[in-house]
Every structure is written in structure tokens, then in C-alpha cells.
Amino acid sequence: MKLCEFIRPEKLSDARNALRKLGPKGMPLAGGTALHFMNTKTPGTAVDITRLGLSYIRQEAGAFVIGAATPLSDIQRYRSPRWSMHEICRRISTHQIRNVSTIGGNICRVFPWADLPVVLLAMNARMMIYTGKKKEDEVGADDFFASQPARRFAGGDLLTAVKIPFLKANHGFGSVKAARNAAAFSLVTVAALLELKDGRIQAARVAAGSAIPFPKRLRSVEAALIGNEAIPEVFRAAAAKATEDAKWCKQEGMSAEYIKDLAEVSLVDALERAAEFARGRTK
């Protein structure tokens, strides 16, 4: 995107007012990496939101609260017993990009290869949105990623934080990103959250992205898991159901059939990791 102006509001309300006034010309800028690749006909105005205190990770009422302008490298380095976001952040792009790219930038305008929407769908995250009112809107991941989130922010509203529930006892999380090399865009990203009881799957949230046009939950896979034993045969049978929810697309010279196989293998891996994780967690 070509920029004709660069402004640095001091307050969240000023940023929102500026973006409202600017309309499609205005663009919130945190890491700003995506802006360099956006092709727009008319030059735009960057509204710098990195100085509004939106970069933090806190623990509050059963959830990790990540500020919208928190760089991926901070999320990658954060550690806590009920936390598992670092895994996927380590797999996103390169060290230099992770130092500037933010969680908000990754999810407010979803590119097909984005990894975090997949993980946040599986984790049942909640997004906090500033709409000018004192109390921020809280939107669940299913609703937030039902369509392109950028539309939600067209009127100047701003994402302020992402709430990720603590992983409770018997809950486990696993994610797999398949890419050609460490820094490449994802071919397939999958994520799974499992709750186990006596070796059986009580609850499951499974999501996929990259090889499909938009990240989504795989509800047929979830249905095939719930009530069954957490064993590889069950995972394989459930992964085979993914085609009922997702039409896998060809990627970078790889056929759709190959991507389907890759997605299914990745799903089994993610489910095994989640189950392993859950088994080791008794509190």
C-alpha cells in the first residue's frame, strides 16, 4: 500500500475517530508488514496503533489476555503451565518478522495462509473489540472468523485483545503446520483441542486453514471423535471425515489429492499431540 500520510494517535478513541473519518483510506498499522504487500489504487493513511499500550500478555479470570499489538516473538517466548500458543508462533515466518508482526495483524485481515485463526478457532478464543463505548465487545472465535474479519473493522473499530482460555485439567492442545520450509507460507495448518476422561474424548474442537479458502472448524471430524477412545485408529477415521467440511485445494504445484493426504496426516499428528498433552495434565 502506498502511504500519503502517517499519524500517531495517543489514545484508542483518537485512533478510532481517525479511522472512522478516513474510511477505506485509513489503515491501522501495528507491525505493518502486510501493508507493504497490499495493492490499493489510492494512497492511504497509516494510523500507528503501537503506542496505545496494546502490547502485553496477562492472566485474568481463567484466560490469557494478549494485547492486539503484541509481537509474535513475545507470544513465542511466553511460558505458563496452561499455555500452548508459543508452539505455533515459533512456526510463523522468520525471526525478524515475528519481532514486528502482531497477533492482531494476523487475525484482523485473514490471509488464506494465516496460522493464528486456525489455532484461535480450536482454542475457542474471544476477541475484544473497541467500538467507542466504555465496555468493549467480546466476540467468540466462531463468530469472528465466520467471514473476513476485516469487514468488521471497516468502520474504524479496533481489536484490543485476544482472550485465550487456560488449558484445564485433562485438556490438551496440538497444532501442525505443514510448509515447504521453515519460513514458507503454510500449505496446511491444523489445530485440535481435546478433553479426555478415562481415555475417552469428552469434547473436541478441530480447525484447519491454508489449503482451504478460509480457516474453519471441522465439525464432522469433531463429531467422529467425541465419545470415542483417544487412540490412533479413531484419529485416522476422524481425519478421513475432514473432506465433508473442507474442500482441499491444490497448493504450490501440489495436487488437491496430495494436499488432502497431507491435511489428514497433519490432523492425526495434531490429535495425537493433543491427546498426549491431555493425558499428562491432571490439574
Partner: protein
């Protein structure tokens, strides 16, 4: 440069500076036009790492930052590392290992390694790889760069461990005296 409509102030290699810029100018372009040409233009799209600089202690791609984003920050370029006459420790190791062929990637590699050495205490292969994963070298196949880095890191780790070990022995001996 396009018509300068803005100015940006930041600390560059320890000196406070103000530059005229335009909202659309990349930090890399500003640095190079101001004479800091050690920072290289490689791919221009955040892949190769030749433009790596350190901003507020973190390695970043100068080609993917607007100059305006540097306002109030501390930026360090390769010019803050060793010189031709007086290379720093890692630069010396790169020369000794024969790790420099065309040399275009080296400023970025040195900056990423600097961020690693200044931020981390643990220099395990896993962490070192993580810091270096955003720098490409098309000549050497990385092996010699890695050897040079490993030597530098091992020496630094040994030096860091020394004072700590001395302290522990002192403490334990004083305890023994009691």
C-alpha cells in the same frame, strides 16, 4: 527520495538524529540514502535478511518497516559493529572460517547474531537457529557461517559462565568457613 513531508527522529547507532522523510519511505531506503550503506537491499520483501537492523534490541527487516515507524526508537545498523580494520569477534570468526564469499548477506547475519548474543543467555543450537532463520546465504550453504557463529557463541558462553562460577566458589567457600 519522494517529496519530504514528514520528519522522523530516532537514535541511530547511539546518536540522536532527525531525518526528513515521506510517509511511504522504507527505513532501509532512508538509511542507505543517509550513507548507512552497510545495510543491504536484497529482496525488498522480508525474505532474505540482508537489510536486518536492530530496533529496540530486536532484529528486524528494514525493508518491511516504514521509516516513520522508527520514531523514538533505538536503531542500530552494521556500522555499529566492527570495522574493516577492527572487526568484532564474530566478524573475525567469519573471516577465519572462510564464511564470506560474495558477502552480501553478512551485514544482516552479523546483526541477527548480535541480537542473539545480547538477548539470550542460552546459546543452544535450537535458539541460535531460531535467531538466524531469517537470513539467507546463497553462496556458502551456511556451514562455515554456522561454524563461525558456534565458535563465537561457545567462547561467549564460557566467558559468561566464568564469573558466575567464580561467584559460586566464593560463596561456597565462605559458607564453608562459617
Amino acid at each position: 527520495m519522494k517529496a519530504a513531508t514528514n520528519s522522523v527522529s530516532f537514535t541511530l547507532n547511539g546518536e540522536k538524529k532527525t531525518f526528513a522523510t515521506s510517509p511511504d519511505e522504507k527505513l532501509l531506503d532512508l538509511l542507505r540514502r543517509e550513507g548507512y550503506r552497510g545495510t543491504k537491499y536484497g529482496c525488498g520483501q522480508g525474505t532474505c535478511g540482508a537489510c536486518t537492523v536492530i530496533m529496540d534490541g530486536r532484529a528486524v527487516y528494514a525493508c518491511l518497516l516504514y521509516a516513520m515507524q522508527a520514531e523514538g526508537r533505538k536503531v542500530r545498523t552494521i556500522e555499529s559493529a566492527g570495522t574493516f580494520e577492527k572487526p568484532n569477534e564474530f566478524q573475525k570468526e567469519l573471516i577465519d572460517a572462510g564464511a564470506v564469499q560474495c558477502g552480501y548477506c553478512i551485514p544482516g547475519i552479523v546483526m541477527s547474531a548480535t541480537a542473539l548474543m545480547e538477548t539470550e543467555k542460552d546459546f543452544s543450537d535450537e535458539i541460535a537457529r531460531e535467531y538466524m532463520d531469517g537470513n539467507l546465504c546463497r553462496c556458502t550453504g551456511y556451514e562455515k557461517i554456522w561454524i563461525a557463529l558456534r565458535r563465537t557463541l561457545d567462547r561467549k558462553a564460557a566467558a559468561d559462565a566464568k564469573p558466575a562460577a567464580e561467584k559460586t566458589t566464593k560463596r561456597s567457600s565462605s559458607k564453608g568457613a562459617k
